[in-house]
């Protein structure tokens, strides 16, 4: 670590605004993925002006720069892959403005996702994107990753709720993109920035839309003896013209892991459950709830349970949102995939995943956003065993390969990051990737910001590499969406 740079950072941010001791840095070398890399230092700005100064220093000392929210990401987006300065937004965590009448909020990037919904609940509003990590993850991180969540089926993902951004480009330029009013002139740079995984700029302020809380919500739990029956239910709900607010599936293996830990009341002897939520006007929730229950029964659901009150509903959701934590208890490491497929391909894909698990001798749990075809197969393995690690990566690649074959994509909501960059050529041509690279270079010309993410390094294109195994024995990350 350059001592002049360190001195300048301390002068800018104060002694307590910079971390650089190895024992401190260890806490910032990972996120929710299985990757690790150690930064040279971590800085904690309080204002956009300080962020601009940090960027200028990084340029002067040619240090890579990586933004970080809560570090709950699942693709290594907030990891300093090539070392450098991690800019943590932990201290830029204020809700700057809530405009209930216009259903807008202006927030700093470090505001925790669920804090905004809590702060607006008394106004009958909420921030709709709800990743499972919402009690920890930040809105800045959500913007960078274009995060989803169980309720994005009806309400959309982060990009559908972002109106304007204040960003600091890696050149040190402070920019305002979009506007709290609709339809700003010019190209939709806001839309381009959301989901750019911190490779275009550091977001210092966000204007989001707030969504009215539904008048009524019905949460149903349907229990199945066969996974196919559950997936066919999902297909038919769509065919009936119903878009549930959420439609989640857990397979039997996952249910047993969760129930043991959360005690959500999930039956232990079934093959799959669907957790389906419909909401809106009382009349709409009533009607759609009845329709959904009927479809579940038509597809041989053994039991359809409707949550009687908010308490029961919360318990069911707790089972879903804590599922990854529950799985983490079973294995030293797990690897969560995020492939997405056309939902009509669900039955075939789940069969294929099961075959792949058998081939490599892994238990693979399935928990996913069935409504939008976003899978989260969980491969349990022991990262201390090099062979197991390689097999886990191979199994995961085979799953992704299958997702692409049936018309899907490599990541639905977790991001590409440093985990799936090598898979990008499976989906995109060299020309597509070149164009994406050139677009990144418009904002990040020197490649100083979050290097080694999203786009494969040209020499590695088309090859599948096996990563070195990470440090042993760090069990599981936080919950994905």
């Amino acid at each position: 670590m350059n001592s002049r740079l360190l001195h300048n950072l301390k002068k800018l941010l104060g002694r307590d605004g910079v971390l650089y001791e190895p024992e401190d840095l260890m806490l910032y070398e990972y996120d929710g993925s299985v990757e690790t890399a150690r930064p040279n230092c971590v800085v904690f700005p309080r204002t956009a002006a300080e962020v601009v100064e940090i960027v200028r220093l990084a340029n002067r000392y040619l240090m890579p720069l990586v933004g970080r929210g809560a570090g709950t990401g699942l693709s290594g987006g907030a990891i300093a892959r090539q070392g450098g300065i991690i800019t943590s937004f932990a201290r830029m965590n204020r809700i700057l403005e809530i405009d209930a009448e216009n259903q807008r909020a202006r927030v700093q990037p470090g505001v925790v996702n669920s804090d905004l919904s809590v702060a607006t609940e008394h106004l009958g509003l909420h921030f709709a994107p709800d990743p499972s990590s919402q009690k920890a993850c930040t809105i800045g991180g959500n913007v960078s990753e274009n995060s989803g969540g169980p309720h994005t089926l009806a309400y959309g993902v982060t990009t559908n709720h972002v109106l304007a951004l204040e960003v600091v480009l890696p050149t040190g330029e402070l920019l305002h993109l979009g506007n709290s009013a609709l339809d700003a002139s010019g190209y939709d740079l806001t839309g381009l920035f959301v989901g750019s995984e911190g490779t275009f700029g550091l977001v210092t302020e966000i204007t989001v839309k707030l969504t009215r809380l539904p008048e009524a919500t019905k949460t149903l739990l349907a229990v199945y003896e066969s996974v196919d029956d559950a997936t066919e239910t999902v297909v038919e709900i769509t065919a009936r013209g119903i878009t549930p607010a959420a439609c989640e599936m857990l397979d039997g293996w996952t249910i047993r892991a969760v129930e043991d830990y959360v005690h959500a009341g999930f039956p232990l002897d079934c093959a799959a459950i669907l957790l389906i939520e419909v909401d809106g006007l009382r009349e709409a929730a009533e009607y759609e709830g009845a329709e959904v229950a009927e479809v579940c029964r038509l597809h041989r659901a053994r039991e359809v349970r409707v949550a009687r009150d908010a308490c029961e509903r919360d318990l069911l959701w707790k089972g879903r949102k804590n599922a990854f934590g529950a799985v983490g208890r079973l294995s030293p490491t797990y690897y969560t995939q995020d492939g997405v497929i056309p939902r009509t391909k669900l039955p075939a894909t789940l069969r294929r995943i099961s075959e792949i698990g058998q081939k490599y001798g892994f238990a693979i749990g399935n928990i996913f956003h069935a409504g939008d075809g976003n899978l989260h197969p969980i491969i349990l393995f022991d990262a201390r065993d090099q062979q197991q690690f390689r097999n886990a990566v191979a199994a995961s690649d085979e799953i992704i390969q299958f997702c692409i074959e049936v018309g899907g994509a490599i990541t639905g909501e977790h991001g590409v990051g440093m985990e799936k960059d090598r898979l990008m050529p499976l989906l995109f041509s060299e020309a597509d990737l070149d164009l994406m690279r050139s677009v990144r270079d418009v904002f990040n010309p020197a490649g100083l910001l979050n290097p080694g993410k999203i786009l494969p390094t040209p020499k590695g294109c088309g090859e599948i590499h096996v990563r070195p195994a990470p440090e042993p024995a760090r069990a599981s990350g936080p919950a994905p969406a």
């Binding site: 405009d99 009448e101 259903q103 274009n146 989803g148 994005t152 990009t159 559908n160 920019l175 305002h176 506007n179 709290s180 609709l182 339809d183 700003a184 002139s185 010019g186 190209y187 939709d188 839309g191 381009l192 750019s196 008048e215 769509t238 065919a239 009936r240 119903i242 878009t243 809106g280 006007l281 009349e283 709409a284 009533e286 009607y287 997405v340 497929i341 056309p342 009509t344 939008d372 075809g373 976003n374 018309g407 899907g408 994509a409 490599i410 990541t411 639905g412 909501e413 977790h414 590409v416 799936k420 990008m424 989906l427 995109f428 597509d432 164009l435 994406m436 677009v439 270079d441 418009v442």
Partner: protein, 462 residues
């Protein structure tokens, strides 16, 4: 035809076939943009042919303007240079439609109306029901960025376009996104293609998320003595648990226009007689769902309308609602058709500022003794149309400028998407300069290094 243009035409004929190239000046008039006609027009039959044409144009430094049914060529600025009209109407196939997955892939030249038929067979639809819908193509609707009244519930194209394929300015075929309803693989390049007027690429395929058709619909039309009262109803609805599909506010003259013969020529679906009065402001709000949902919606809307002081309220069912919807959707073409010098401002404002902006615009128009009409979408987008007479042209120009400045001062986004061609150089068509125009120019250079794609048509002189 001179020797150079003969060579160009013969090369284009090699690529797309002789019958798909026009160089006859009489035929080329149909491709006119703000008084400029191209040297040739070509109609590629595949994305490969489109890429070939762009590659050729890049090598020859020929400026291309991609287009569909040519209904919105009057938007934006005139091209700085205009050699070639790239008519995409032969790329009109539905490539894939998977109702169970709610996904649809289409070529850009597909007429919106034809899609409607395809989707309705599965009780689905695309909420891209935007102005000029009876003639427009999917690609032109996306590239021009026009919005639909349905954005109230379904959002705009950026919310349901899942991915795109396009040809960049050097003739390279590229893509972004995918064909699944949720996807974060790679940069969302397709977002910047929406509303870019073809300045970043020639769209060759668009993937959409489709939506189930609402069971039944009911449209309410409430009349008010002032814009203030009409906006009060908008506010009550927005603050209620109701989930309207559309909420549109019409000025008295807009109401009059929508019932006119001109309107009937553009949207043949009839406007139910007597529901709109030329003496009143009106709110039109529609809802979808089961009988019970519609009954509840009606109960609430009637109560809220009464509280806001409505002079009257009518409920239109599935027999009459679509006609009324069609007329409001077509407000822009109807206004354009109603006068030779129609100038339409688009004012994006916070909902709570709509009244202030509407008042300021009306005041500026009245002071200049200009006829005007306004249609506002409940989410905060106002279309304000001026109809200057022959002798009022100078005053109209000033008034448009005043309104734009006023709206910007109130934190809004103001632009003048439609005005007489002669005014384009005198008016800030794309609104006042924004801090991010420089980034847009850089982006343009990446997508179109030779500057041949609709040069000069876009914001910031792009």
């Amino acid at each position: 035809m001179n020797a150079a243009s003969a060579t160009i035409s013969s090369r284009l004929a090699e690529i797309a076939g002789p019958s798909n190239v026009s160089a006859d000046p009489a035929q080329l008039e149909a491709y006119e943009i703000c008084g400029k006609t191209p040297g040739a027009a070509v109609r590629p039959g595949s994305s490969e042919e489109a890429a070939e044409i762009v590659k050729f144009a890049a090598a020859e430094k020929l400026a291309i303007v991609p287009m569909g049914a040519r209904t919105k060529l009057g938007m934006g600025l005139p091209p700085r240079q205009y050699d070639l009209a790239l008519d995409m109407t032969r790329l009109d196939r539905v490539i894939a439609y998977d109702p169970g997955d709610l996904t649809l892939s289409v070529e850009p030249g597909t007429p919106l109306r034809r899609l409607e038929g395809v989707l309705a067979g599965h009780r689905q639809f695309l909420p891209l029901d935007a102005p000029f819908a009876n003639r427009a193509t999917v690609g032109g609707t996306i590239a021009s960025g026009v919005d639909s009244p349905l954005r109230q519930f379904y959002g705009t194209a950026r919310d349901y376009v899942l991915g795109m394929e396009f040809v960049t300015g050097d003739g390279t075929a590229a893509k972004s996104g995918g064909r699944v309803v949720k996807n974060v693989s790679g940069y969302d390049l397709h977002k910047v293609m929406i509303g870019a007027l073809g300045t970043l690429g020639v769209i060759t395929k668009i993937n959409f998320r489709t939506f189930p058709l609402p069971g039944a619909t009911r449209t309410f039309v409430a009349g008010f003595s002032s814009s203030e009262r009409a906006l009060d109803l908008r506010h009550s609805v927005a603050s209620s648990p109701l989930r309207p599909l559309t909420v549109e506010i019409l000025s008295p003259r807009a109401a009059e226009l929508l019932s006119s013969d001109v309107a009937a020529g553009i949207e043949p679906g009839p406007m139910p007689p007597g529901e709109l009065s030329k003496e009143q402001w009106a709110v039109m709000a529609s809802f979808g769902g089961t009988g019970k949902i519609l009954e509840r919606s009606e109960l609430e809307v009637r109560r809220m309308a009464e509280e806001a002081g409505a002079a009257g309220i009518a409920a239109l069912g599935d027999d009459k609602g679509p006609g009324a919807f069609g007329r409001t959707r077509e407000f822009i073409p109807i206004a354009l058709e109603s006068s030779a010098a129609t100038t339409i401002l688009k004012l994006g404002v916070l909902p709570t500022r709509m009244r202030q902006v509407l008042d300021a615009a009306a005041k500026a128009a009245d002071a200049a003794e200009l006829r005007w009409a306004a249609l506002a979408r409940g989410l905060g987008v106002i279309y304000f149309a001026l109809f200057p007479s022959e002798e009022a042209l100078g005053r109209a120009l000033l008034a448009a400028n005043d309104i734009l400045t006023e709206c910007a001062a109130l934190g809004g986004n103001a632009a003048i998407p439609w005005c007489p061609a002669a005014w384009k150089s005198a008016l800030p068509v794309w609104g006042l300069d924004r801090g991010d125009f420089e980034q847009m120019r850089k982006l343009k250079r990446v997508f179109d290094p030779h500057g041949i794609l609709a040069p000069g048509r876009f914001a910031g002189g792009i």
